[in-house]
């Protein structure tokens, strides 16, 4: 139990440590204040080219060197802050002989923010590929050093910093496992008026809200429907609306009393469970024209400055999803005719997922490719009963901040939650203990997502990304 308590304490520290406020000039319209927030890394490790298959993720020490070549990687998760005005990285050299060096290393931002602390080795190291943030000259043992990283850490987000050295005399630092001498990110906030509340959508921006894997004999569907009672906007489903068979009686017994309350503002897609009933006929009968042509199940519509595409990933039921299939050809022509600034797509089977119950499905790859070729922005699926958010990726699943689509798996509509398996690259956030819906606010040239948890649960995830 003792060790478990330590683990929990570290997790809490990582979330948010201390906020030291210096509050000044009250009772004035221009209330100014400055505060610092100190974060410890959510992950840190190093690699060593002389031991190219060894991982040091749980070690208490970090090393940077040029002989053998050692590179350090640090990751911080900044959330819940407003008006970030500066950030400093503080690292502490080991209190052992040999920790000192004539060079403390060069600190560089990294595009990869999803590397695995216990999976990084020299042979698979993430690239230290960003902007140089600063360098340290000679360092002595048992001392703190600071690097100004304000040019990189400008607000909330996940930040990766790589450290390299051209010196053959390596430096050794304490890692996050070391306790009070763990690396720190000290963030200064303030110089702005009273903190702005969580960004709210400018009035009038349309909302698209929903989830997949929804109604069954359990109670999760009731919990998520209660959330939708308070969220206006268009409701999407990502398939598997009514378990176990998507039959008319499954719809009337389970879906109608819960999510059925929002039927008139719902634009659904069918999942594999709907197709247990031949042709997903009960799904199409229940939703009527809102579900599209029952022979196709794919359709599109517009919301504000967004084009929204609902696709049918039950590929074998609609003549395939491959390049040249009717659906893929329709999708390409639909996207070509679209004049909206941003594009959102949803269907049931995920192209990328870390869930253990259903593997990533390459059969929808041609649909992902068509969306990528046409500069679409967001893909939402379900099928694995959990929440997962990926960084923007190209159709091969590689990080692509320029043109990539952000993939979400939102299988949290109410059906029993699943475990995760191997976590895929570029998976940024995951949760499998909370039912909920995701509210997408579709701005004129960006989108904000917010995972809204069932009553009594605390997991959430939100952010904003610009359209291409």
């Amino acid at each position: 139990m003792f060790r478990r308590k330590i683990a929990i304490a570290i997790a809490l520290v990582a979330a948010s440590v201390t906020t030291v406020g210096v509050v000044g000039v009250f009772g004035d319209a221009s209330v100014a204040y400055a505060a610092t927030t100190t974060l410890t890394p959510v992950a840190d490790t190093y690699t060593d080219n002389s031991l190219a298959t060894t991982n040091y993720g749980t070690s208490g020490q970090l090393g940077v060197d040029n002989s053998p070549i050692k590179r350090m990687y640090l990751r911080f998760n900044v959330s819940g802050l407003t008006a970030v005005s500066g950030a400093k990285l503080r690292i502490h050299t080991d209190d052992v002989s040999g920790a000192e060096s004539n060079s403390g290393g060069t600190f560089t931002s990294m595009s990869n923010t999803t590397w695995s602390e216990t999976g990084v080795i020299w042979n698979n190291q993430p690239a230290v590929d960003g902007t140089t943030l600063g360098s340290l000259g000679a360092v002595v043992r048992n001392a703190w050093y600071e690097i100004d990283v304000s040019s990189y850490v400008k607000g909330n987000g996940v930040f990766s910093i790589g450290v390299t050295s051209s010196s053959t005399d390596g430096a050794d630092y304490d890692s996050r496992e070391s306790g009070s001498t763990a690396p720190q990110l000290v963030i200064t906030t303030g110089t702005s008026p009273t903190p702005t509340p969580t960004p709210t959508a400018p009035a009038g921006d349309p909302v698209l809200v929903g989830a997949g894997d929804i109604a069954s004999s359990g109670t999760g569907d009731t919990a998520t429907a209660a959330l939708l009672d308070g969220i206006p906007g268009t409701v999407f489903t990502a398939g598997d609306e009514a378990y176990p068979d998507g039959s008319a009686s499954n719809f009337s017994s389970y879906y109608a009393p819960t999510w059925g309350r929002f039927k008139s503002r719902t634009r659904p897609v069918a999942g594999n469970h709907e197709y247990v009933t031949p042709g997903a006929s009960a799904h199409y009968n229940y939703f009527g024209s809102a579900a599209g042509d029952p022979a196709k199940g794919y359709y599109s519509y517009n919301l504000g400055s967004w084009h929204v595409v609902a696709l049918n990933s039950n590929c074998s039921s609609v003549g395939g999803c491959n390049a040249g299939s009717a659906q893929e050809k329709w999708l390409r022509s639909d996207l070509a005719a679209n004049a909206k600034a941003c594009t959102f797509a949803y269907w049931h089977h995920p192209r990328f997922t870390s869930g253990s119950n259903h593997a990533p499905d390459p059969s929808v790859g041609p649909l992902v490719q068509a969306l990528y070729d046409n500069n679409a922005d967001v893909i939402v699926t379900g099928h694995n009963h959990q929440y997962e958010r990926f960084a923007p990726m190209n159709p091969s699943g590689q990080l692509d901040n320029a043109r990539g689509l952000r993939h979400f798996v939102i299988g949290t509509g109410g059906a029993g939650l699943y475990s995760f398996g191997t976590i895929l690259p570029n998976s940024e956030v995951r949760n499998n203990n909370t039912f909920g819906v995701v509210k997408f606010t579709l701005h004129s040239n960006s989108y904000t997502w917010q995972f809204v948890p069932q009553a009594g649960k605390t997991f959430t995830d939100s952010g904003t990304t610009a359209c291409h």
């Binding site: 040999g98 216990t118 070391s178 359990g218």
Partner: protein, 344 residues
């Protein structure tokens, strides 16, 4: 139950011996980890650069007993002396892995159509045999001698959580003779002393005894989840008791670690427990989280198991096998543990 072969006795002696060594090195490991400062070094007084290099080289060579784990699907090892220290990763990817003696079994990542593969590797990681299988990798076991391999796959429903129930298939391979049993369900079953057939039968979670013939497993039918004892050569199994899932036989062969459905209802989760085979008495272990794993025995007094955090990260925990004490984090960011005592 009688008729222990000489091989079995020798094997049990060897296991008991290595368990004692294991216990000692685990204690050393905790001393190292508990001390603040550079946990990477094995000696706090040595010069940092050389000390860490020495420790790392040792880790890379695989000196001493190792714990084999998966690090996010990558076959890896950590030192049992310092499970929080440097970790050696291989290029092998598995959804589930288990190592014993000179055999490493690896269930390859399943593809979208549910195809997987059982790979039998030597310690050089060269593949000796592979068997195509269909289903989602769930459990995997190698007998202490390295000869027998057993696996469980979800065939349908994919998990206990699925509303419509599930079905499993458990198979066994004798790597010495090449005999392959695709499904233990085909064995002649005896329930409460009577021959038994049922269409709803599922078998999962095989664990071998020291004689490389007898085994224990879970057989479910008609709402029961029986502990069964099987005989590979005779192709039979018979029920021992009820309410036992994912059994794991202790190195001394006297107890079964298993997951006990809370209140008899798997939907409420499972309590890690230990059954004494002689007295049929069960003790709940001090882990209060629901454990959905086939535990392993680090020695005759300690079991280890995987727990997944809500973000999908796995950790290996350890807890005393007698219900005392409390769980402790053994290897963070890892699952599918097995003790790889050969040190090769």
């Amino acid at each position: 139950m009688s008729g222990q072969s000489g091989l079995s006795l020798r094997a049990r002696g060897a296991i008991a011996g290595s368990a004692a060594v294991l216990l000692a090195v685990v204690a050393v490991g905790y001393t190292v980890r508990a001390r603040p400062g550079p946990a990477v070094t094995t000696s706090g007084t040595a010069e940092a650069g050389t000390a860490s290099s020495t420790a790392e080289a040792g880790a890379a060579r695989g000196d001493g007993p190792r714990l084999r784990v998966l690090s996010n699907g990558v076959l890896s090892t950590v030192s049992l002396q310092d499970p929080g220290g440097p970790r050696t990763l291989t290029s092998q990817r598995c959804d589930r892995a288990f190592a014993a003696a000179d055999t490493i079994a690896c269930l390859r990542p399943v593809n979208p159509l549910g195809a997987t593969q059982l790979a039998i590797l030597g310690h050089d990681l060269r593949e000796r045999r592979s068997i195509p299988l269909t289903g989602f990798p769930n459990r995997l076991r190698v007998s202490a001698s390295g000869r027998m391999v057993a696996w469980t796959l979800f065939i349908d429903g994919h998990s206990y959580a699925s509303g419509g129930g599930f079905s499993t298939r458990a198979g066994i391979l004798d790597t010495r003779t090449g005999t392959l049993v695709d499904s233990v369900e085909t064995f002649a079953a005896t329930v409460d002393g009577r021959p038994y057939r049922a269409a709803d039968m599922n078998v999962w979670g095989v664990t071998f005894t020291g004689d490389d013939n007898r085994f224990y497993a879970t057989m479910s039918s008609g709402g029961h989840r029986y502990l069964v004892e099987g005989d590979f050569a005779a192709r039979t199994f018979r029920t021992v008791t009820d309410g036992v899932e994912c059994p794991s036989l202790s190195p001394d062969g006297t107890r079964i670690a298993f997951k006990a459905a809370i209140g008899g209802d798997p939907a409420r989760g499972w309590r890690l427990s230990v059954l004494d085979l002689a007295t049929k008495k069960t003790v709940a272990l001090a882990e209060s989280h629901s454990v959905d794993d086939q535990a392993i025995w680090l020695d005759d007094r300690t079991v280890a198991y995987g727990l997944q955090r809500s973000d999908g990260t796995n950790d290996v925990w350890a807890v005393p096998a007698d219900g005392t004490g409390g769980p402790r984090l053994f290897v963070s960011g890892a699952n599918s543990p097995s003790v790889d005592g050969s040190g090769a």
